[in-house]
């Protein structure tokens, strides 16, 4: 169980192999622990006294930027992932979200080198995660379908949650 400062929590299945992402000795994206991605010089002007949430926390909150975070009421939310596939997809969603939010920031601050560095790191991580997902399960983009059958049409659609049994 993972709690953040606002008591939002994620629940992970205990059976999940936590070393799953250690393939090809690639750098591990540790979704179980806080990653300190803050940098004292990050966001030098607008975000001088603040820094970023981790991708996990960011997706949970809907915001990567601590200084912009503004919650409504004190609800507690959880995402329960079951099995490796959902866990891997969630990590892809987390990294995609982190990149999306940094993307919007970088649109207005294209010369922020620290933000760009963070962006590039997550981008690399995302690429690695997507490669594993594509190899093990299916492609998320039709153009990336590279199996000996067209797996794009076979994989589940995002709203098909099998009667509430799965995130897809």
């Amino acid at each position: 169980m993972y709690y953040d400062e606002n008591n939002n929590y994620f629940e992970y299945n205990n059976e999940i192999n936590k070393d799953y992402f250690n393939v090809n000795n690639s750098k591990k994206y540790d979704m179980y622990n806080e990653i300190n991605i803050s940098n004292p010089t990050f966001n030098t002007v607008t975000y001088r006294n603040s820094n970023l949430f981790t991708p996990t926390e960011g997706l949970n909150k809907g915001n990567m930027f601590k200084n912009l975070y503004d919650p409504y009421k004190n609800y507690i939310y959880k995402v329960t992932v079951r099995g490796k596939r959902e866990e891997l997809l969630l990590s892809i969603q987390e990294l995609t979200f982190a990149l999306k939010d940094l993307n919007l920031y970088l649109d207005l601050h294209p010369n922020d080198k620290n933000a760009l560095e963070t962006f590039k790191n997550y981008s690399e991580e995302l690429k690695r995660h997507k490669e594993i997902y594509n190899k093990e399960y299916s492609s998320l983009c039709a153009f990336d379908s590279n199996k000996n059958y067209f797996d794009w049409v076979k994989s589940p659609w995002p709203w098909d949650n099998m009667g509430g049994n799965t995130y897809v």
Binding site: Y75, Q93, L104, W152, G164
Partner: protein
């Protein structure tokens, strides 16, 4: 061009049907301050932004909003999936069933179909960005009202996420708006 990714921006897995909430959520699909409205607004306005920053920001937020249309549609579909015709009738959705069965259609919570009269694209970046800021605030307020109407965590979690996105977008639009105000003064 646009490339589709077969995943939601935020995971949604609603286990309990809730016809009333499905109906309420239509406000954010085909309503005046909904996600479709937001997406079309920014994707039209981006063509007359005065510099690369504006073109980039409106393209990127407009694209994200398309993902939010998909999220709201997913929620409505999952909430309605197991509803019987009797239950639809009880919740004033017989009219919906006549035209759409349990299909997704951009209309608001009262069944009024989506119209581009909800949006504007004036060609004036200051005017457009002020509309965008207002739109994000209206959507934020709508999400808060929607959150007041349910205690199902499966619904609250994605609503809370979407509400927070409105706040981020508002701040980015405001930043750009203030910068353009300065720029155009000179």
């Amino acid at each position: 061009m646009f490339k589709y990714e077969k995943m939601l921006e935020y995971p949604i897995n609603i286990k309990k049907k809730d016809i009333k909430m499905a109906k309420n959520l239509l406000a954010q699909l085909g309503g005046s301050d909904g996600e479709l409205s937001a997406s079309l607004r920014y994707l039209c306005q981006r063509f007359t932004m005065p510099d690369d920053k504006g073109k980039a920001l409106l393209s990127d937020i407009g694209t994200e909003e398309l993902g939010h249309v998909e999220m709201i549609s997913t929620m409505v579909e999952q909430l309605l999936r197991d509803a019987s015709i009797e239950e639809l009738k009880k919740n004033n959705l017989a009219g919906w069933y006549v035209s759409h069965k349990k299909g997704i259609f951009p209309a608001n919570q009262d069944g009024v179909p989506f119209t581009t009269a909800y949006i504007q694209s004036t060609g004036d970046p200051i005017v457009d960005l002020q509309e965008d800021m207002a739109a994000e605030e209206k959507a934020r307020a709508t999400y808060e009202n929607l959150m007041d109407l349910t205690d199902d965590e499966d619904i609250l979690a994605p609503l809370s996420f979407l509400r927070q996105r409105e706040i981020v977008h508002f701040n980015r639009f405001k930043e750009l708006h203030d910068e353009y105000k300065e720029m155009l003064k000179k």
